[in-house]
């Protein structure tokens, strides 16, 4: 098939046109966990004749492999250090803001307060957008996508690292109501990526299984560093990032987060940082008050679903750009920032940071911050509503932002408010318990996790009240998850990342692989030439990472990674390029540039069209593209066990295979002959037909 027609066809039926709701950016590559399983080990056995047993041990998955242990310790401690200094910076900014408003005039104070907030927030937006736009948002949805096999360009770069750190410090310092756990997870993910690139740890980087374990450990350490909760961190990270979890990975995640917790505890003791104080709740047994906690769980579940709904709508609304005047990056943040600054200035307790609010709620230290100056329930209600709305608004800005801390604070306040009501019926002394249960339940409803209960247990230092806690959390989780997606999945959907959507049962039952497979896909035969390879690379686009090789009867024999195919093309070009005329060399050079930069810069398309013209007209180029491919070449790295399934496999099974094996693509065969291909995109298409 001619290259022209293939390009034209792809333009016509572009996958993005089929899904008009999804943004047309392709800054990701999808890798295939299943493909990688034997790759590294195969390399170890084919590259050197007999690797020493020490070398095998040092690159193995063994639990005592010292290089992995060292990398985990380093990751834990570095995350702790970064986390500590970020916390310190945020705390100092918050002190500074309070320091500035000590003039005698309240109006002057308010002006200073607002200007201080605006400057910091706009700086946060500027730095984020200048250094790396990938730093925007939470980071947890993207980590989830990465752990499921998607490779995001620039997401793990140094620029993103600094953009995220500075952005989140300035945004929280500037009074926006956002949390730190998402950004911390992202930051520790970046630290992990760069640690794994250090030469002595390079085997971690090249082994996708180990690398994923290492990244999962980074996610756990990121959570643990925010709340000093190694156990809760591990469990929470499992719940928010995984569909299934290899149980033996838990050990590495726990090992890393305990080092992180040790580091952070030690640093905070030195730095005398404020922390959430241990509580001293009474023992809570089983009595009628449990019904009160059941109602609290229901309410929190509804509130959580409402929060997810409002936040996603806000973001979608902004993306649709209905009022262009309003939705500019800087203007929008300015608006939100002024709202936040005005609201937080008004009363003493609104100025508190989330940790202080949580401490007040858990320990009933209300008079310290003026909660009960007028009327405690009224103050709680006002704070709760404001916090809820401000958090939702803040999340829609172009800044790095988490959700956990503000929601914990809002939940704790809501729990206390509910306790004021419940005290009309039950006269127990469980004030703080309601706050703790409310906090965990609201977060559970929003993030669809149960393990947040463990996080709250860890920072209260008690587990005496597990009964009301887990009952309420389970109910909140159930209510919310039967109403809506979790906030992280909602973000994933808005961002259009290729995570594997869950399909409706009816669809799973009624269809089979044949019904959703792609009929146009790249492929080459065993007697293909370079031109065919170029066609196939073009055809593979971003959604296929491998090209199948068939024999003359169409039987599927091997497959090749698109990247290996590119390398092979380049290596053949380099072998011969001295013999080309300058004109030909220019054309081919442009094409190579195109191959390398493809997906990064869309304007490279022109270079490619130029090449296409040359291909039709330039004899030398034609001759070059006529060279047969040597399938035995080491560069091509042929895989002789492509993953193929029968065309009549039910969709339920195909979906299960993609989830469990972390597949990116599967070949569909009929009696051994290749008849189609399925990629993750095929599932999304089948869910949202044009």
């Amino acid at each position: 098939m001619s290259l022209y027609s293939s390009v034209a066809r792809r333009r016509r039926e572009s996958i993005f046109q089929i899904n008009p709701n999804r943004p047309a950016k392709a800054n990701f590559i999808i890798t295939d966990l299943f493909t990688n399983i034997d790759e590294v080990t195969k390399k170890a056995f084919t590259s050197s004749a007999s690797p020493s047993s020490l070398k095998i041990f040092l690159t193995s998955h063994h639990i005592l492999n010292p290089t992995v242990l060292l990398a985990l310790i380093l990751l834990g401690l570095l995350t702790a250090v970064v986390s500590f200094f970020m916390d310190l910076a945020i705390q100092e900014l918050q002190y500074l803001r309070l320091f500035f408003i000590q003039t005698s005039s309240e109006i002057l104070n308010m002006g200073i307060w607002i200007i201080f907030c605006i400057v910091l927030c706009e700086l946060a937006v500027f730095i984020t957008s200048y250094l790396s736009k990938d730093a925007e948002g939470s980071g947890i949805p993207e980590m989830k996508a990465i752990l499921s096999g998607v490779k995001l360009r620039n997401f793990m770069s140094y620029k993103t690292f600094f953009a995220k750190i500075i952005g989140v410090v300035f945004a929280i310092g500037g009074g926006l109501s956002i949390g730190r756990e998402g950004p911390f997870v992202h930051i520790s993910g970046i630290i992990a990526t760069h640690i794994s690139k250090i030469p002595i740890f390079s085997h971690i980087h090249s082994n996708l299984t180990l690398k994923n374990q290492f990244l999962a450990a980074a996610v756990a350490a990121g959570i643990a560093s925010v709340f000093e909760c190694p156990i809760g961190g591990v469990l929470y990270s499992i719940e928010v990032t995984s569909t299934y979890y290899i149980v033996s990975n838990m050990w590495r995640a726990a090992f890393c987060s305990i080092w992180c917790a040790i580091g952070i505890i030690w640093l905070r003791e030195i730095g005398q940082m404020k922390v959430i104080n241990s509580t001293d709740f009474p023992d809570v047994g089983l009595d009628l008050e449990i019904f009160s906690f059941i109602i609290l769980g229901c309410l929190c579940g509804l509130l959580g679903a409402l929060f997810i709904n409002i936040t996603s709508r806000l973001i979608s609304l902004k993306e649709q750009n209905i009022y262009p005047m309003l939705y500019g990056r800087y203007r929008y943040t300015l608006l939100i920032c002024i709202i936040c600054a005005v609201v937080t200035f008004l009363t003493n307790y609104m100025r508190l940071n989330d940790m202080a609010v949580i401490n007040d709620m858990f320990h009933s230290t209300f008079s310290e911050h003026g909660w009960d100056d007028y009327n405690l329930p009224f103050a709680l209600l006002v704070f709760g509503i404001c916090k809820f709305l401000l958090t939702s608004l803040s999340l829609s800005c172009h800044i790095p932002a988490g959700v956990l801390y503000p929601l914990l604070a809002a939940g704790a306040v809501f729990g206390r408010l509910f306790q004021q009501l419940a005290s009309l019926v039950f006269t127990s002394d469980r004030h703080g318990v309601y706050a703790a249960v409310g906090a965990a339940s609201l977060v559970s409803a929003t993030t669809h996790t149960i393990s947040v209960a463990v996080i709250v247990f860890e920072f209260t230092g008690q587990i005496h009240y597990f009964l009301p806690m887990i009952v309420s959390v389970l109910i909140a989780y159930t209510v919310s998850s039967s109403l809506t997606l979790s906030i992280y999945d909602a973000f994933l959907e808005i961002k259009g990342l290729p995570y594997l959507p869950s399909l409706k049962p009816a669809k799973l039952q009624a269809q089979c692989a044949r019904d959703i497979m792609e009929y146009s896909y790249p492929q080459i035969t065993i007697s293909a030439n370079l031109g065919d390879l170029v066609d196939a690379i073009e055809e593979a686009s971003v959604f296929f990472s491998k090209i199948p090789v068939v024999d003359s009867e169409g039987n599927l024999l091997y497959d090749i990674l698109v990247n290996s195919a590119k390398e092979y093309f380049i290596s053949i070009y380099k072998e011969r390029h001295s013999s080309f005329s300058p004109d030909t060399a220019g054309h081919l050079n442009n094409f190579l540039l195109y191959l390398e930069k493809k997906n990064k810069e869309s304007m490279m398309g022109e270079t490619f069209e130029e090449f296409l013209l040359a291909k039709e007209n330039n004899e030398e180029v034609k001759k070059f593209l006529n060279i047969s491919i040597d399938l035995k070449s080491e560069i091509l790295n042929l895989d002789d066990s492509p993953f193929a399934i029968n065309e009549s496999t039910p969709l339920a099974k195909v979906h299960f295979l993609f989830i469990m094996l972390g597949l990116n693509q599967a070949y569909i065969i009929r009696k051994g002959a290749l008849v189609g291909m399925i990629s993750r995109e095929s599932f999304t298409k089948s869910r949202n037909p044009a």
Copy 2:
């Protein structure tokens, strides 16, 4: 191929002969998780024209599906009730034993004590062996095998249920040093199986995915009922039974175990049962004493590995039957029982049950039970060594037995002993913390779990001391798991259950599917007759659950469940049996009996050989077997998407596929043609070549 030769060949190369170490019992069936995914849903769509949406909802995996919720509540509460009454019975037996030894003569007391123990223990052995031998042992390894797709016959029967309950009550009452968590897990698994057979819950039973989730919830509830620890129960059950875990299952497990915990707390409050008391440890931060906990972790790790080693050796020694005089079921228990009775009678503190020991250690209530009558460290040392050895001996008896409680007690005592040493260097007031950390670390080292830390947190009610706890537990886990298998995996290996062994990296890298596949396997062609089907059923033996169907060129088209094939054969026979002569009917009837009873009773082989003779000589039988198979028959339930992999697939990938998809067998193809089959047994064979 003739049936005779196939039988003869299988006898010659029996899989059991290839693995002489594994016992020749075949009381299990292996099911295939992957096969079941679409089965139920397909049924729902094909059996009735359009099922009502309510019916679909009631059989769906939806989180709010009321039938599943109800089943989980019922399971949780029933487990709690059974657990409570078992605890009560054990407690009463222990009181009774102390009540009997109030005579004035110490020698008489000792006699009564020993006889009391012997009577109860022998009763336990008698009842277990009379009712159901499947009740012996822990139950957790078997549940692990079941959750990975192995079906154990009789393991979930009512007889086993009562045998396990009575056995464990009498054995603990009789002074053997065993725990309850393993038997409880088994018991709640049986409850789950029978609940899922109730008509309104029958969709749970027929849907393997839901059923497995339900069983996993039962395991969690079993653990939770022993320690009143819903969170720890869920995590522990995940760690001991799963290789990977579908994160969304966690919700169901947590939901079930919270109901169980509520039930048990309520019953214990009514029944005034003794429980492990909440502790009041001081806050433990980061200081130099952490090194002391590191050493404790190392020591516990070594002790745990030693325990596993000693126990497995004891059991293997017994199975090899070197001293037949010693190893009779009753005689052996008599021996162990006398040893236990004598040792426990000697001092006051040796008579305590595990819970009381744990309370003493955590709360320093030593004088109450005479720990410090002479010399505390000496008493601790004596108790520790005795407990360690007695537990190991008790586990080798033919009784239902868990390991958690006695090891927690031994670990707590060991922690206290270590604290006596550590107090020479550190003069802190953390006595109880050492006991708690020691208890968790020793269990962690033995069972290779981290979540036991959460269990201990839950029953101490505190989490203030998470730092020393998790450091020590991680170290103990690491040390032990780098030395040996976990105790549950060791039991699995001794019992010869077909769990998927982990393979050595070198083997995974050097071999591919072709190297381990079976060349002799059942198969039929699309034009097969009943005789071919019979051959294939015979050939399938216990290790293949499905029979492939190929076309005339050998291309793999469909497969059939062995059970469906049997049903089909029987249905055809029933259609025609009125037309047979009595002689023929007799032969075929015998054969049907053989088909139904096969694997259950080995002497049925003779019936089969008789049938073989008839097949050669009886014209009517020959004619019957010549009937062509109607592949479209609903009874055969043809699957048109058999799971096939390329013959050159590396072993690492094949192994990964089996683990992740819960496969029992896979077809090996070359260009679409069937060339071999791999079952779980193939992996075991390749690991232990003849």
